[in-house]
Every structure is written in C-alpha cells, then in structure tokens.
C-alpha cells in the first residue's frame, strides 16, 4: 500500500473518532450541568482537555456554555472542533476514495455535509443533546460500514490502528475531565461521590450498562478499572491498545508475540504495562499523573507509526537513480 494512502486512511479514521469523542465530551458535560447546582465554572475544563485553551482564551475569553460549544463544535479555526475534524476526515477520504468502499465514502460525505449544514446555518443548538447524539451515531455508522464493507487487509488495519489509538487517547481524556471536575483533592478519591455524576461519565463512554453488569455498584475505583484496564470493554484504554497492537502486527507481518520494530516494542510494552498495573497503584500514585504519562506514550506511538510507515513517501531509494548516476 502507498505510504501516502496509508497515512490518509489512518488520519481519516482518527479524525472521525476524534469528532465523535468531542461530541462525547460535550455530551457528558451537558448531562452533568443538568444535575449541577453550580452551573458556571464547569465549561473551562472541557477546553483544557482538548489542549486548545490558549487559542480559546485569545478568541473567546469567557468560558460560557455558548462559547465553549461553538469553539468545540462549529469553529472552523479550531483544528479540533467537530466540523474541522470532519472536514479533515473527508479530505483524507477524498484522496483515498478508490481504496475505501463507496459506502464508506457516501456515509462520511453525508456526515460531513450534515454537520457542515448545521455549522453554516447555526442550527443544531436548539436541541444540543440530539445533535451530539447524532454525531456519535453517524460516527458509529461509519465504523460499522467500514468493518462490514472494507476488506480487512492492510488499509483496514491502518483504519483500525488510527481509530483505536485515538479512542484510547480520548478515553483517557474523558477520565481526566472527570478528574478535574470531581477530584479537587486526592482525598476525595474513593469517597462515595454523587452517583449521578459518575454515571454521566460512564454514559459518555457508552459504558454505563456494561459497567453495571460487571461491577454493579458505581464507585470511582470501579470506573477507573473499567475505563482504563478492562480487557473486554471496547472503549477501555487497555482494550483499545491491544487491538491497535494487533493491527500493527497485522500490517508489519510480525507475529503478535514478537516485537521487532521500535513501534511494536513501544506499543507492546504499553499493553504489558496496563495488564500489570492495579487500580490501587494508579490511584495511590495519582490518576492524573498516570493518565498524563499514558498520553505521552501514546503520542510517541503515533510518532513511531509515522516513521515506520508513512515517512517512506519522502525517502529516497538507497541506490542512486540511474539517470542521475550517468551525469
């Protein structure tokens, strides 16, 4: 597969997942706000977690609900807003239309046009819950179509690799949002906090019912275990990284139990790391610090993926081109 194409597929998939997760961040916050008596301060952390707070403060100043929603949803100058992510996803898809299935293109294009239409007309905000739900569903539909219509070969694995890395990163950020909102002091961890608010976090990761089946009672440790370390729940970080690792090995052709390249060693190492940590250790050493470290490592995986597969598009062949050596 062409390096350029692999890179486009990988980013197409990452951007769709990113758009979905921005909708999830906002969704959980909207729900929290409904139950919250203290309505003002809780929109700023949302901008912090996407890492774009400097840009936000420069252009919007006040972290009101309206400003934050606009910045994260329809602001075309914010590269991580839903509309910007979808635009980037679509542009990438457009450059690999012949590789992905027609159905995938059709769904992504329709998805983009719908959000673009809402952005242009400023619609969607009269019923934000419905709007963000539809963004999530459109993303699910795209993933489902991808899995059902695209050959599960190299291209599909790049798709999955991108999606799972992005999802792992964003689940860690959803946990982090919650950390900022609720865990003002370390002492709060493990105390029985408002169930409704934790439930909102689980719902934002579509994890509420699955969590119930496994852990029953809602309590912070259980949630951290479930969203971080669970091996079976599809939005759990551990689960995502294991699937990413599988795709990575499928692409390189290295057996799963071996690691030859830097990126395989790094990602394989992360999976082992997650498999061997306990919730208590994480909480004792600081959830935020743990998540921070994890995010750094996942970013490094992204860099190594680029070096290993995509950088080929700018590399020169080792032998000098024949026509040049004659001169």
């Amino acid at each position: 597969m062409l390096s350029r194409v692999a890179e486009s597929i990988y980013w197409m998939s990452r951007y769709v997942e990113r758009a979905e997760n921005v909708a999830r961040f906002i969704g959980v916050n909207l729900t929290l706000m409904l139950d919250s008596s203290d309505r003002e301060q809780q929109w700023a952390p949302l901008v912090n977690t996407t890492g774009d707070h400097e840009d936000f403060e420069k252009r919007y100043k006040m972290a009101t609900e309206e400003n934050v929603l606009r910045f994260l949803t329809f602001d075309r100058d914010n590269p991580n807003s839903i509309i910007s992510c979808l635009r980037a996803a679509r542009e990438n898809a457009r450059s690999v239309r012949e590789i992905i299935s027609s159905e995938m293109w059709l769904q992504l294009n329709t998805f983009y046009l719908k959000v673009n239409d809402a952005a242009t007309r400023g619609k969607g905000m009269e019923s934000p819950h419905d709007f963000y739900t539809s963004v999530k569903l459109s993303s699910h539909l795209f993933m489902g179509i991808t899995d059902a219509t695209m050959t599960h070969g190299e291209g599909w694995h790049f798709c999955r690799l991108g999606r799972k890395l992005e999802r792992a990163d964003k689940t860690s950020r959803i946990l982090d949002v919650k950390y900022f909102i609720l865990l003002r002091s370390v002492a709060d961890v493990g105390t029985p906090l408002d169930d409704t608010q934790w439930a909102a976090v689980l719902r934002s990761a579509s994890a509420f019912e699955m969590y119930r089946k496994k852990h029953g009672r809602i309590w912070p440790k259980g949630i951290v275990q479930f969203l971080l370390l669970d091996r079976e729940f599809p939005r759990a970080i551990h689960f995502c990284l294991r699937e990413a690792n599988e795709s990575l090995h499928a692409i390189s052709g290295t057996p799963l139990e071996q690691s030859t390249s830097d990126v395989e060693k790094l990602l394989g190492g992360l999976c082992t790391y997650l498999a061997s940590t306990s919730v208590d250790e994480i909480i004792n050493n600081g959830l935020h610090e743990y998540l921070d470290h994890l995010q750094d490592q996942m970013n490094l995986v992204g860099t190594k993926v680029f070096e290993m597969f995509f950088a080929q598009r700018v590399r020169e062949p080792e032998k000098k081109p024949a026509s040049e050596s004659l001169q």
Binding site: M1, L2, S3, R4, V5, A6, E91, R94, S95, V96, R97, E98, I99, S102, W105, L106, N109, T110, L113, E154, I251, F309, F310, Q312, R313, R315, E316, P317, K319, K320, P321, A322, S323, E324
Partner: protein, 502 residues
C-alpha cells in the same frame, strides 16, 4: 406532462420527430414520462441532484478557491440512439482510431504522409502536440492512443459529424457510469422495456487494455493511474476509475525512478510499477524530458519508458492528433492509410492556413465558428452568430496574426433533447462523446457522455461553461452480442432462510 406542448424550435430533436410524436426508439421512455403525475418529474430531478452531492460526484473549478467542488448538473431525460444508427457510428469510430494510430506512428518514424504531400510538413512541425522527444519511439504493441474520446454532433440535416478528437487525456467517462447508475434507480421500469445496452464493463475493458501493454517479462503486471492530485478538476474521475479497475491511484510524488525502473513508495518499501494510465499532460509528465518546472510528474520517467520498462497510456506524443488543423486532414488520412472512404464525416472545416480558406473565413466570420488549433474545454473559440462585431474583429486580427493556429467551421444547428426546465421539458442542444479503447482490438463503449448546454439557446456544452450531462442509451437489437446479454442476466441463487435450518 405531454409532448403535445413541446416546441421543436426548428431543430432536429433526438426524441421527438418532426410530426411532434416520439421517435420509435424512445417510445417506452416517452410513454413513461407522459404518465408521470404532476410534479413527479421535478421530484425525481431533485432526487438525482441530491444523490450527486451525497455521492460527492464533483469536479473542482479552476480559478475558484481550492477545494471548491461543483457537481456536473445531470438531466434525467436520456438521449437515446437506435441500434442501427449506433452500428454505423461504431464502425466509423473504429476506422477513425485505426487511421489516427497509424498516422501518429508514421509521424514519429518515416513521415511517409508528409513525403507523399498528403499533410503539409509545416502543419506538423508547428503543432504543439508534436513532441520531438518521441521521434523514433516504439510504444508497446505499437499502440499510441489507447483511450480516445471523440466528440460527435448531429446537425439539422440529421447526419452525425465528428467535431473533434481527444487523444490526450479525455475525461468524462466516470459520469457516463455514474449517470447510468442514477438512471437505473430513477427509471427502473423503462430500462427493462427499452433494452438499453450496459456500459458498466468499461473499467474492466480498460484494465485489460492497460495490462495488455505491460512488458512481456512481467507475469502479473502492476497497473497504476497517475493523477495530478486532489485539486485537479477531474480528480473524482481519476479516483473513481482507479477504484472501479481495482488499481492504485498515485500522484507523481508517490513514484520514483531508480535502476531503470519506476517504483512506488509503499508502507513496505519500494514496489515496481509496470503500466501507468497517466491523466497528466505530456508537458508535466517528466520534468527531465518536458517542462522542467513540473511538480506533478516523475523525473526520469521517459527514459524508463523508452527502454521499454514501463508502459504509458496514452503514449506521449499522441496529442498531435488533437490539433484542430490535423483534424481537418483526417478524412484524407483514412484514405491514405486504410484506402477506405470515411464512414463518419468531419464537419466541413476551413483551414485558415490555406489562402482561399483564409479569405473566406475573414469575410464570413460572423457566420462561422472559429477555433484555436490547440485549445480545448470551449476556450479560444468564437461563435460568429452569437458574437458582437468587436469580438469578431478581434478574432479576425488574431487569425491574421497566426493563421496556422485557427480553423473555422459553419455554425451547426446542434440537435436537441428534451431537458427538465423548472417543471416542464424544453429542447436543449447536445453533443456526444463516445469512448474508444485500443488494446488487442478496438472497442467502442455503447453510448458515451451526452453533454447538454443547459442555457437556453446556448451551443456550448462544456462543463466549465454551464454545460450538464445526460445518460446515453444505445438500444440493443437482435444482433447485439452475448456480452451484453450476460450483463443483463439476474442472479439465480437465493440464500437460505432461517426456517430451512431448523
């Protein structure tokens, strides 16, 4: 809606005869259209418009900001050609392509046709499409023009004429395939009754042609489509064709020349490329051979091509036959190379480079269509009867300054096809571009792209200038070959249902 109210406007209409009733071949469609309830026509037209946007069947518009995409307007009333008439068109096109291929090959070798004074030497020497770099070259299997789009028009006399040849990178075939796809969902009932010949196997045919060109030593050739990139106006088509053929779509920067071969940059390293369907003009193909400032091409590509280690379609240099002055000589080429009479006539053409023709053109410029020899897309053209006196005077000056670069033709009364305008049908002028593939043999796709000038009274059908397109139906008759029938047979098998398993 009823055809009683339809106004022929004094033009030949592809659908409605002079007596005001539908022609024999279109009777099923006409009956169907007439039976549509009020508002249904416009509803289906809107549904087609929506589908085009959702499917992203768009072209980029030059001169507007990057990423601006427009759809090629699609009109849902098809243009229909009867089986018998098509047979003649098909023969005529095959004859023309065969002669043009021999002509190009001759030009880059012995130039017998110039020695025998059939075509004047200076016409070739001054043609922009003639590439000195290609002299003496032998393209794989001796074929230069693998893919040709020839523009045909029907005049008021009912006769089909060849308007121009496109041997460089003819575009539009993707619209033919997508238009058909759309029409099948809009008018399923008419299809079955009308016996429309399928066009859907074009991508496979094209792939066969491309594989046929690969070097003999290669058992399973790697074929790629080379595009200038996502900002090119025809990008959708490049991507669509690559997808339909199941080949890789590459940009110049994805390819590199090394050790006498062309390689592509993949996630697993460099992989060899054997055949390139290039949708980049000669000028930009290889900065070492042609324009040195080209960023789109592959440096060193021509050397590999000359050594026979990669095939290019169409062959570099074949654009010489696109020259509109060369066009004027095609009937003579057919006589010279094939010793046959021309089946599909040219539009009568005045060659401004010839003295008698020049003075006729200058005197009658307001009645003629004047074309620059090396322009396409409807640019560099004067339609005398629709032009102002100043425009005519300006063109006259340009012709006198460079007569070699101009031809003139009588203004044709292009035939019309009923076209949806608001909630009813009006006649609009059309042309037709069939696609011809030259591989083991010559294949003409049954149909082609019918372009329609959507502006009332306009004769310019180009998409860049307010044109749209229609589906083109070539009807089958008893003589139609087996391939068509196979494509028509429905699948027989049925999957098991749950009950059967219990």
């Amino acid at each position: 809606m009823k055809f009683r109210d339809y106004n022929l406007g004094g033009f030949f209409d592809e659908m409605i005869g002079e007596d005001g009733s539908p022609r024999l071949a279109v009777r099923h469609l006409a009956r169907n259209l007439e039976a549509l309830p009020d508002g249904e026509l416009i509803r289906r037209q809107k549904s087609a418009d929506r589908a085009l946007i959702q499917m992203g069947i768009t072209f980029n518009v030059y001169g507007e900001s990057a990423g601006v995409e427009k759809t090629l307007p699609f009109d849902l009333v098809p243009r229909i050609l009867a089986a018998e008439e098509w047979t003649r068109i098909e023969l005529g096109l095959k004859q023309r392509i065969e002669a043009l291929n021999l002509f190009i090959d001759d030009l880059y070798h012995e130039q017998k046709i110039i020695r025998d004074k059939v075509v004047p030497e200076h016409v070739i020497a001054s043609s922009k499409g003639f590439r000195k770099q290609c002299v003496g070259m032998n393209p794989p299997r001796g074929i230069w023009c693998h893919i040709t789009g020839t523009d045909l028009v029907r005049h008021g006399d009912g006769q089909i004429y060849v308007l121009e040849d496109n041997l460089r990178c003819p575009s539009g075939v993707s619209y033919v395939l997508e238009n058909r796809h759309l029409m099948k969902s809009l008018f399923p009932e008419v299809f079955a009754a009308s016996k429309v010949r399928p066009v859907s196997n074009y991508p496979l045919r094209l792939r066969d042609v491309l594989e046929f060109l690969s070097p003999d030593s290669v058992s399973s050739p790697r074929v790629v489509l080379l595009t200038p990139g996502v900002f090119n106006s025809a990008y959708f088509e490049h991507s669509f064709l690559a997808q339909q053929m199941g080949i890789e779509l590459v940009e110049g920067s994805d390819l590199v020349v090394s050790d006498g071969f062309v390689w592509m940059r993949t996630t697993k390293g460099f992989e060899r490329v054997d055949v390139i369907y290039r949708r980049i003009d000669d000028d930009f193909l290889d900065p070492k051979a042609f324009r040195p400032d080209s960023m789109l091409g592959v440096p060193g590509l021509m050397e590999v091509y000359k050594a026979g280690n990669v095939a290019l379609a169409n062959a570099p240099g074949s654009g010489v036959a696109d020259d509109k002055v060369v066009y004027a000589y095609v009937p003579r080429l057919i006589k010279y190379y094939l010793d046959q009479e021309t089946i599909l006539p040219n539009v009568p053409t005045y060659i401004c480079d010839e003295e008698n023709d020049l003075s006729y053109v200058l005197e009658n410029i307001n009645k003629l269509v004047v074309k620059a020899a090396n322009e396409s897309g409807g640019y560099g053209m004067l339609i005398g009867p629709h032009a102002t006196n100043e425009e005519c005077a300006d063109f006259a000056k340009r012709i006198q300054a460079d007569p070699r670069n101009y031809i003139a033709q009588p203004t044709l009364a292009l035939s019309r096809v009923p076209t949806v305008v608001d909630d009813h049908l009006e006649g609009r002028h059309v042309d037709l571009r069939p696609y011809i593939l030259y591989g083991k043999d010559i294949y003409v796709m049954p149909g082609g792209l019918t372009r329609v000038a959507l502006k009332k009274g306009s004769l310019v059908v180009n998409s860049s200038q307010g044109g749209g397109s229609k589906d083109t139906w070539v009807l089958a008759d008893a003589a139609t070959k087996e391939e068509d029938l196979l494509a028509r047979n429905p699948a027989q098998s049925q999957s098991q249902s749950q009950e059967a398993n219990i």
